[in-house]
Symmetry: C3
Subunit: 359 residues, 3 copies
């Protein structure tokens, strides 16, 4: 992939506000990784661990931070190389433009309010009373339920389901297959059967949230399930009824958050983490992969394991577990030494009493 | 949300068969939680842990059990407040009625048998020989494969897939994106490649089962994958070929059950639990969150961990693990004391023999 | 289910290249398990653990390997009974034929290249520049994005999403709800917010791969996410950007593989396994269910646990953990014996010094 015509390094330096070390007339036609890049590509060195790959790279130019040295070609140097990389990728891969308007095969209710700048793809369904804001893109097979609202510049990828009444802010991206607003999992057992508790609340997704493919976010029993501004959610995540996730948090793939839990701001839940119901995870907390939370996590705390412990403690105990064979060996030896000493002193061995038993 | 006109407390008392303590002419227009309720709402106190929130609530009335005291407003008192809450929610939020009939954009095979009272939504597909019973609702994009059968009053939410031949009982609810009847994961390695074992069995879902969003239930290799009456399955659950789940069980989000395992009646599998293949989980067993089963679980047993242990034992071992640093310290000290005693008695230290090694 | 007319055992012996022990004119009309089979069925004994069920089976005939004895009926004997079972199942359950051609309700871009032998089902969408090879079957609601390519004899089940530019080899099977090519989960935090890193790479799925229902495989940031020939992926699996999986591997349900990890050839990742990012899992490695990988796994290694350990070591430590109560009891007793000995010798007890602390 890449832009056919390409850009000169001079143009790139200007667009990225980078300092160019090299020939400004040289042309590159695409971005590639250090290993894959050829003379026609610009590559990037952001993580210093890849300095060796960079030194061996055949790239025609390099995007790099202030300290990177030893690069075998022209350098576009910038204080914030990661942000510059984002601009560079968008330059070579501009998002496809969507023509405004409703595809003739889409089924849009007469009383839905679709902004004239919005684009509704083939075979999409927009139900009664739904609202699509300016420049919203609704792709094929997406379903916007009755009274659901989608804020400006948001994107619903193919086959997204927004159930009735769900509200999305601006610039929200929902990937293929995600379901927002299905019923929460709530029942009352009456002695005979589990009776369904009607789930009559809503879902509120704030601005700049991204929701991964086939992820599920349930509607609240009452009130709202809430995902606050700037939070990013990966694929196959489960967010139960009445959960609230704070701003700018990261929820990695296959995480599950049970009902009514509160996740703070700037939290990281790594892959496959489970959070039990009615818990609070404080701002800035980090929960390592596959951990299971059964208690609250304090702000800034970093935890690991099931049930989760502070990460340093968890690692120490993991190491001590490794020593269990040695511990048992040493204990057995101490018992033998005791026996020898007791024999020496003419003492009988230990009597076993019931109270000794630690069980 | 809520009913505009509202109900008088007298009307509610009658409908809920509750005893009213307060003014029967007072009007409430919606149900809310204790914290969110205003004077126009009825709130509920079911779990006594929320007594404090109840005492501070601004709600116009309270639904409560026989023992609740100190409520700052009129009380609708009932022996079974949870069941009354369900009726109350349905009163204020009646399920939307679906007009019977097939949407003109749906694609229904000529030889499918659709009951005249069933409702088939826009862009749904019903294939050859499929049967939709009375009052069945098939929402947009739902797919009912060839010869699949859906019992009366069942609901297929948008984008549900029922593969060929799958059978659903009555009052079954399938949430958006669930896939029932995809091929089981079965292969035979012939020395060169994994050869697919044709999955020619079916899926049988009995009455009153609920299936969560994006959950997958595979068809059997031969025979049937079975989910019995009244069992509730949450989102993103994986149920493999030839699994059988008994009546009135609860399967929480992201659980995975491997091939041919038998889950009993009234079992609870908490979030992210994994069950290996060909296991039996007895009636009434409880498996705590994230546990991994590699052996059978006895009826009524409560287990935790990977591999799972009886929960009391698992908790005790978890606590003892915490003591590992202290155990190592005490062991080291005992060894020093032994050394001192041996010195005192003029005995040499322990000889290390190979047989000592516990590894 | 089963073929009405049935086959004679003589016909079956010939087709399966099996030796028949019994009457070649006997007719069977279907395949069943040992327990479910009646006189009209052929059953199979492949795993010797089921010899008892076989002895009690009412089946009209048995498919079995060279060593099986004591079968109460005619036997179709073959050196490779598992491969013969596959042929037998296909004989009684031939895959439904799909009529070539594009359903009139499908939406196919004018410049998509659909082979005349391909079948595109109702309400499918094939976007601009997409390529469907010979005999490809695209079922209802499947979405083939712009420029995506599907090799000959591949099958897209209902509601599959192939995002723009994704490439599938030959004989690939993608089950309902799978999403191939959604954006990878990549952001750069700029001090204020997580900025999306454009995901401009692709996905390459080689020949004979099978992808489970509601599984997600993300596109690469740059380059390709790759699944090599013959690998089988179960339901609800998450494969992140730039992952590469080797040939003939098995990825069981709900596994998650984080960004840029390399899984070798012939690897088995059991259910719910998590693989952290940038790891390497060597050829032929086996990772047991629910394990969490935080380090590389060597070729052929078999590991278990979170974090994962070699499986024998993990099992030994699990057993030793069980002994912790006994270890603590023995340690306490040793301390009492020490006290007695020290008293006997007129020695004071141990002084506690800070350096003693093992922390």
């Amino acid at each position: 992939m890449g832009n056919r015509a390409g850009f000169t390094l001079g143009e790139l330096a200007e667009t990225l506000r980078a300092t160019l070390e090299g020939d400004p007339t040289r042309i590159v036609t695409g971005v590639e990784t250090l290993d894959a890049a050829g003379p026609e590509h610009v590559a990037f060195l952001i993580d210093p661990r890849y300095a060796k790959s960079a030194a061996a790279s055949r790239a025609g130019a390099f995007l790099a931070g202030p300290d990177a040295a030893g690069l075998p070609g022209p350098v576009l140097r910038t204080a914030k190389p990661q942000q510059a990389l984002i601009r560079l990728l968008l330059l070579f891969h501009p998002p496809p433009a969507a023509a405004p308007g409703v595809d003739p095969t889409a089924v849009v209710a007469a009383d839905a309010r679709v902004d004239p700048t919005a684009a509704v793809g083939p075979l999409a369904v927009v139900e009664s009373g739904a609202v699509l804001g300016p420049r919203v893109r609704v792709h094929a097979f997406a379903f916007v339920g009755a009274r659901a609202e989608v804020g400006e510049d948001s994107v619903l990828h193919p086959r997204v389901v927004l159930c009735a009444g769900v509200r999305l802010g601006r610039r929200v991206i929902v990937h293929a297959g995600a379901v927002v607003g299905a019923d929460g999992f709530g029942y009352a057992f009456d002695g005979e059967a589990h009776r369904k508790i009607p789930q009559v609340g809503g879902v509120l997704i704030e601005d700049d949230v991204e929701i991964g493919a086939n992820t599920t976010i349930d509607r609240a029993t009452l009130g709202n399930t809430v995902v606050r501004r700037g939070t990013k959610i990966d694929n196959l995540v489960q967010i139960a009824h009445n959960v609230e996730i704070g701003e700018h948090s990261i929820v990695v793939a296959q995480v599950g958050i049970a009902g009514s839990s509160r996740i703070g701001r700037g939290v990281i839940l790594a892959g496959q983490v489970g959070v039990a119901d009615h818990l609070t995870v404080g701002d800035g907390a980090v929960v390592l992969a596959q951990s299971g939370l059964a208690r609250d996590v304090a702000p800034g705390e970093k935890v690991f394991g099931t049930p989760a412990r502070p990460v340093l403690r968890a690692k120490r105990l993991f190491t001590l577990e490794e020593q269990l064979p040695e511990i048992v060996r040493r204990l057995r030896q101490a018992e033998r030494r005791l026996e020898r000493l007791e024999g020496q002193l003419g003492l009988a061995g230990p009597e076993r009493t019931k109270g000794d038993d630690a069980r």
